[in-house]
Amino acid sequence: MDPDFVHLHVHSFYSMMHGVNSPEALCREAKKAGFSHLALTDSNGFYGLVNFLEAASAAGIEPIVGAQVKTEKTSAVLLARTPEGYEILSELITRRHTEHDFSLSQSLPERSRDLVVLSADPELLHGLRDRVECFFEIVPGPSDRKLLRIAKQIGVSPVATNAVHFAGIADYPLHRLLRAIGLNKTMGSLAPQDTVAAGQWLKSAREMSACFPDCPEALANTVLIAQSCLTPPNRFRTVFPNYLDKNEDHLALLVFECRKGIGWRYGKTGPKIENRLAEELELISAKGFVDYFLVVADIVRRRTVHCGRGSGAASLVSYLLGITHVDPLRHNLLFGRFLNPERKDLPDIDVDFPWDERDGLFEEITALYGSERLAFISNHTGFRARASVREVAKVYGMPVSDIKEVTSRMSYWSSLRIEKQKGERGAGSRKREAGSGKRGGGSGEGGEDLLAPRFSHPQFHNFSLEPPWPEIIDLASRLEAIPRNISTHCGGVVIVPDRVSRYVPVQISAKGVRIIQWEKDQAEKAGLVKIDLLGNRSLAVIRDALAAVRKNTGKAIDYASFNPVDDPQTQKIISRGNTMGVFYLESPAMRLLQAKAGRGDFEHTVIHSSIIRPAANRYIRQYLARLHGEVWEPLHPRLEEILAENYGILVYQEDVVQCAMALAGFSWGEADSLRKVISKKSREQLRDYRVRFERGCAANGVSAEVVEKVWDMFTSFAGYSFCKPHSASYALVSYKSAYLKAHHPAEFMAAVISNGGGYYSAFAYISESRRMGIEVPGPDINESSLSYTGRGKTMRVGFQQLQGMRKSGLEALIGEKDRRGPFSSIEELLERLRGELTIADALILAKSGALDSIRGSLNRPQTLWLIEAWFNRVTAPVVCQPSLFRPPSIKIPGLPDFPPGTKPAHEAQTMGFPLSVHPLELAGPYFGRLGRSTVPAFRMAEYIGRKIRMKGWPVTRKEVMTKEGEEMEFFTFEDETGIFETVFFPQPFKRFCQDLDMSHAYLLYGLVESEFGVASLSVDHAQRVTIGLERGRG
């Protein structure tokens, strides 16, 4: 079929906050409407270009590449005719985003046959018609006749478009909703010019020709233009970074660097090393990765503390260049996982740096390579479930508190579509029940209400969603997956040999850095090789702790060669799960796994790092049983060798590849594709692979039962698991931090809290420090610094813990102390920092106890009085000439000191938690009679199999889903004596989830259970206890 019209002006949802449909949906609809060509012309960008090209080829549509370039004054649709046209357009869009005085007519080349311009701006067309081919764009509407007349007058051929913003008329309300959200308006207050007309959907050729009965030329021109636009190749060529030092033979340079690395890493070479190196270098050179390695090595060398991870850690070359620190030969890491002759996609090396050094590093490499050659990958930020509900509710004018009531009940990962389906199913069954008379005719639940989408999560139990909430949730579910804006990816960088803007438009992010318009998947598909430089808080913890150790003890530890894998004390704390604060091993699930396994050696820790993903992996129990001596048979003799080190269980990503190769005879490439499909969880593709896998297994004589079991393991966790090199890289960092925790606990815990971002709150880490025998004194004006400081058996709270204190006040305080020494009295402090500290800052300092050492004979109320009076005097208006003499000192009345309970309350108010006593001590009287019969945490293990009562202060929580799809929760509590784990199974969870939060004490009742020697409490009943400090908790 050859239609007589082609849509040349089409917006997908990548025209952020304007368009509604994905490129896939547009291609599908276009095919359905009988079109053979379709253009995608998103506003000022190629944001979804790669997806569009893919979708077009899947739908059998010839794609036309273009963009609508909009400025404040004018707008035009530009279509690329040739690859050169694409490059010109990409540069043009880049200039549109990066130049303040961008002018469309001035930015277009002098004479070009590579582009076509469609616009309804006569002035623009007049200026451009001699330089590029121009058409007058006519969109059907009230003024189309007028536009046709103008086109004739200025002598530019007309072309019909529908400036499509949505696939069907039904999507118009969604467009209006997006506009209302984007403009911060309500549906009612949207002006006509805020939205496009309701008719701007993907009309069929016949519908379009009906709109132009008197101008067939405008329709025919669309076909002419479409035919002249070259379909871009579906596959972009790979673009590698280029090492700067262009004059040398780069392979020789790489070999030289590796040789240097052998001397550094191994001392002397051997046949094993030589063979592996030769194999790797050959493949690296054949695949064109020589420069890539040199560039990454060059970046990594600029910072001492870093951690190369991902599949790149399997490479000996990375190890020798200092990119990674795990010896691939010693730990048997296969290079094939990183580079393989059959691998079609681009592997990448991820390198972690301390979080606070990353920005400086980026500046350094941007200066080195030039801003033209380097840009960041972007993120396409979409509406997540909570955000979409919040935004739609705002459009409906719902009060913020009501919105919070609903969104705070939604679990973090909840998908509205799924909830909606579940809700509808639930509503259906409720309706049936009501019909059969089981529920007495429904109290207040009208027929319409029954069909409304509902949330099935127990948090919504007894919480009715009154109108217009059902409407809001329905609309919000349609917003999911629509991108909202683009932001900077956390670490992906592209470095190209010439200019990034040749390949993809570049724009400036909110942070002020240059980002490309594609997110990582599209960038990868388009052949841009990225380098991931990510921020990692634990590396900063290690760096700071090493610095503190050097300062306090004079002991210098070199990070790169620091390898505490065989240190017995480190192994001991790891084997016991005493790893709060330790990188990657600190989550409750991981600590429990470590404790249950009771192994502290490196190899097992590597297994644990991967098998823990996801935490509810049901093979963990099997693994532990086998570890503790259960007899097991390999699933199949062919798998015996592959899975021997993992006790016959699939643990790493490459296990999937190897199993598929061994059982079904897959080639490496095929097996690797299977691994990828499993991680992406595409159902259709998975089904297809399953058939091929079964067929392959059958050919090799593998029984159906084994196939079933192996497939089950594939799908149960391979989507989350790590590859072994990555796991090993992480485990090494874990060992380094565990070493510091074992040998220099105060310095380490101080660094953990100071760097923030750990799994637990500062309060939980302080409790852990106390359990480790470290004394934790509060902040002190002369002793504390900004961050926590550890030395010997003491960890001093830093000023960073003071909530609500202004940053500039803190900086002034520390600067003054460094310049002119410590403070000796409160008045001196206030005088020296006059104008820098506000009264609120000073009161926070006093209430946190930081001024206790300089307040002399004054008590706390008198201190507060002095501060208030001092500031009142300073800010009082001067009525007469200022006095020549010093003002008289402030008279302070005799005030009684606070009762003992006030100090912890002040600490909670200023630091977020009481420091001088445990909150449970304060809660003592509130527990009542039952509080006396509780069992302390350290004696919990003596009560296995019995029901007990315990007091608990929440530490952390993790909600998971059971196999049956019911919610349950793992909750970690602590009391004055220790930390303990509890489980709320679905029934108790349903009853108590609305009562559980992180800011109350709880009285728990339940059964103590033990698994592999580790006790936990299965909670039957939880009672919230209010102690009056709730508001202060951080």
Partner: protein, 386 residues
């Protein structure tokens, strides 16, 4: 001359009135709120207070916290009527009666000894009569000024009298917590608590200038009230005639079109009342209550020519509405109040052939009203309000 000021306080006045109407409500927790699931509590009774429910709490939340909660729709017209009735009742004992709020009254009985007997007797009698006539129990305070009598009432149980002998004010106040003092709000109380000043006596012991170091000019006032010194007079409340129409939306509304129709409906109602009273409004007060409990209002002086017809009246209300409807939050209710009512007086036309400005509008309105008078108020309406 020593003054004698009685303070009568009826706690949870609105809820108490509802309990009088329906005594069966007395036993359980009761709250007053507007209709609709998402309303906010406007009044509570004692059992509800014990359950932790307070004014301003969302009704849905209150229902979740307290399963056996009884909810009544607040009837402010009734409460206001009762309040005025009490003021009138108390007026029999003294011309100086101040109804400072619903359920809170100051009566100056200075110099009435010869007429009604001793102050405490009179105060007791007033309470007894209130209880007998209206069934409401008040806490009564009698002292030489408004401040102390108010605190005295606060310390008593309902039906009891607290009499503070003149000269004993400071001694009486001294052991009480500082937040018992009227005029010491949350902020001042928490600041005082910061200095560990918790009792009124502690506060009273300060020399005024010392407190000024931390409280500024407020310091002197604090010391004064802590010593029980208050010279303020009892203000007689006066009511001026006004027409007010309030509307609670069926569901929270944000669409400007629908809000304008609701507003027009209110204008129609107010206009009808104005025309029946033959008054023109001099001042408009418009209040928007948003769904999150926040309300905004504006006042406007209306032009002098008589605005009695619906459409011109609406045209003068609409700008006020647009002026305050600025937030992106749905509206729960609208309150329109016309005051400064006066006789419409327009100069008669000198030349009969010249049509007077707005006469068509007035004729149309009159025609509409005559239909309404004949067939009922709801029989005809402007399309805009439908």
């Amino acid at each position: 001359m020593v003054r004698n000021i009685v303070h009568m306080q009826i706690r949870d006045f609105c809820a108490a009135l509802e309990e009088l109407r329906r005594p069966e409500l007395k036993r359980g927790p009761l709250v007053l709120a507007q209709a609709g699931e998402r309303a906010v509590i406007q009044g509570v009774n004692e059992p509800a207070r014990k359950e932790g429910l307070r004014e301003g709490l969302a009704l849905s939340l209150a229902r979740r916290r307290c399963r056996r909660l009884q909810v009544m729709v607040a009837d402010f017209y009734h409460y206001r009527e009762k309040h005025l009735e009490i003021v009138r009742e108390l007026g029999l004992c003294s011309p100086l009666v101040e109804g400072s709020g619903p359920g809170s009254y100051f009566i100056d009985i200075t110099g009435t000894r010869r007429l009604f007997g001793a102050g405490p007797d009179l105060a007791c009698r007033m309470e007894k009569e209130l209880s007998a006539k209206m069934g409401l129990r008040a806490r009564v305070g009698l002292a030489s000024n408004k401040l102390v009598s108010q605190v005295a009432a606060q310390c008593m149980a309902p039906g009891d009298l607290g009499f503070i002998f003149p000269g004993n004010e400071e001694a009486f106040l001294s052991p009480l917590p500082v937040d018992f003092l009227p005029g010491v709000g949350e902020v001042t109380a928490s600041k005082l608590a910061g200095f560990n000043i918790l009792r009124i006596g502690q506060l009273a012991s300060f020399p005024g200038d010392m407190l000024a170091a931390v409280f500024g000019r407020n310091g002197e006032r604090l010391v004064k009230i802590a010593k029980g010194l208050d010279t303020s007079a009892v203000f007689v409340s006066k009511e001026s005639q006004r027409i007010s129409v309030s509307k609670i939306m069926e569901r929270d509304e944000i669409d400007p079109g629908r809000l304008e129709s609701a507003l027009f409906e209110q204008v129609e109602e107010a206009g009808w009342d104005l025309r029946r009273l033959n008054r023109r409004p001099g001042r408009l007060r418009l209040e928007i209550r948003y769904a999150d409990g926040l309300s905004v209002d504006t006042q406007k002086r209306l032009p002098f020519w008589s605005l009695q017809a619906d459409r011109p009246l609406f045209q003068s209300v609409l700008p006020a509405f647009h002026q305050i409807f600025r937030r992106r939050v749905a509206v729960r209710g609208l309150l329109m109040e016309f005051s400064d009512l006066a006789m419409p007086s327009a100069q008669l036309p000198l030349f009969t052939w010249k049509n007077q400005k707005g006469s068509e509008e007035r004729d149309l309105q009159e025609a509409l009203d005559s239909i309404r008078l004949k067939f009922g108020k709801k029989i005809i309406a402007w399309a805009r309000a439908v």
